[in-house]
Amino acid sequence: MKKFINAVDQVENEMIQGMVKAFPQYVKKLDCGNVVVRTQKKEGKVALISGGGSGHEPAHGGYVGRGMLDAAVAGAVFTSPTPDQVYEGIKAIATDAGVLMVIKNYTGDVMNFEMAGEMAEAEGIKVAQVVVNDDVAVQDSTWTVGRRGVAGTVFVHKIAGALAETGAGLEDVQAMAQRVINNVRTMGAAISPCTIPAAGKPGFEIADDEMEVGIGIHGEPGTYKEKMMSADAITDIILDKILGDLDYTGSEVAVMVNSSGATPQMELFIINNHVADVLATKGIKVYKTFVGEYMTSIEMEGMSISLLKLDDDMKKLLDAQADTPAFKQL
């Protein structure tokens, strides 16, 4: 394992410190742990909190700021934060308008956030939640835990965050977050693994001529292995799965081509080139495109493609100003 780190048990801590030192105009850290909140608390609006394990940077600390989140809670690498951490975050940002928890659908995340929500409600704080489950690589069914939440979460932050910023009520913000969740689908693939610092070795092994299709964002292998293929071919596989899952016919979409951490922008753009061509062929209109590191898996070499089916409300909220360390819109 070769990394620019100091000690494996200090990565989360030093990372958060490094982030708040980089962006003091946007974020500060709570004393109680790796919880990052807006430098200036904004009263009179629904407050949004999200989080998960570390290792997904810029998620979620990078999305704390005007027009997106009010707090982000970071657990150990790829490990859901604990209920107390989340609870401290909620307390720090809670307003009379209430708090919306944006949870990614992992057993651990859901349990820990829910426990925190219960603790906060016991204190009289209004809490609502949504669970993001955009990963179409995973079979959805009632008898499993369902799909994972992955890069589509960033659209939830952006759009629900923009609505909250207008002063909308908790139920409306929650409903809008859920509307985004209902309309976003994501799938990814990876060609090399990542290494959790404390584990010291890669999460999976992969041959030089293989790729993992249907990867998650926690360094785990995908839903299946495939022979390495061209960028266009893997893009086709992913788009087929996404377009087969939700009817995008005739609609306008926001596209996100997300890097898992080590994939160079060159490759992301090559992928987007084909995404744009395929969508054009199918008569799906691209309203806006995002290319870059939005929801990573430390230094995994992989990517995901997300398509969000937009309506007029979502378009307006997607276009609204945002000013956070990792997501800015003028």
């Binding site: 859901s80 349990m111 426990m115 994972r148 999460g203």
Partner: protein, 206 residues
């Protein structure tokens, strides 16, 4: 088992977890995200620190503290689940000062219910429950059949181990391994494994 004994057992469980940290992590690597050992080791290190000040508390309070510490330091899925389990046992024991194996099996049943509720899970889903539930059943039966406490827990350990083997044969439907679908078949569940380790420590201490 008095408070001292309980503390000793927890300390030995902690030592075992630290020892098996990489093994448990490796198991989780294959079908999860490779952190189960790291998570539990972090939590039990914190638990050990707490134990030193608990000599004058009753067993129930000790277990409750263990549970709360796990909840607030482990994270992930196993944190709330093990945490809930220990807390439930602690609460159920009330002020029992000397815990028998019969007591343990009774409160363990409550712990399992708590875990099942928190995790929205049941047996056959390739989780810790696939070792916990058979272990509890085996211990109940052994006690009912008049076996000694130590023999009963040994039966529990044997059943827990069979549970591990069983988890190899099924696909996960809960937890991270569920995202792998059928690809999870053939691999044992990390949580079932860590639970079995804990029960073995108990057996060794009787």
């Amino acid at each position: 088992m008095t408070t001292d004994k309980i503390i000793t057992i927890i300390e030995k469980i902690s030592a075992k977890i630290q020892e098996e940290k990489l093994f448990l992590t490796e198991l989780d690597n294959v079908i999860g995200d490779g952190d189960h050992g790291i998570n539990l080791a972090r939590g039990f290190s914190e638990v050990e620190k707490k134990l030193s000040t608990m000599g004058d508390k009753n067993p129930g309070e000790v277990l409750k503290t263990v549970g709360m510490t796990l909840v607030s330091t482990v994270g992930g899925a196993s944190g709330p689940l093990y945490g809930t389990g220990f807390m439930k046992m602690g609460m159920e024991l009330k002020d029992t000062a000397d815990v028998t194996v019969e007591d343990f099996v009774r409160v363990f049943q409550v712990a399992i219910e708590g875990i099942s509720l928190r995790g929205k899970s049941t047996t056959g889903e390739k989780t810790m429950l696939d070792s916990m539930v058979p272990a509890k059943n085996a211990m109940e039966e052994a006690l009912a059949a008049g076996k000694s406490p130590k023999e009963a827990v040994a039966c529990g350990v044997a059943a827990a181990k069979e549970g591990i083997e069983y988890t190899k044969t099924i696909a996960a439907t809960k937890g991270r391994a569920s995202y792998l679908g059928d690809r999870s078949i053939g691999h044992q569940d990390p949580g079932a494994t860590s639970f079995t380790m804990m029960l073995e420590i108990l057996e060794g201490e009787l």
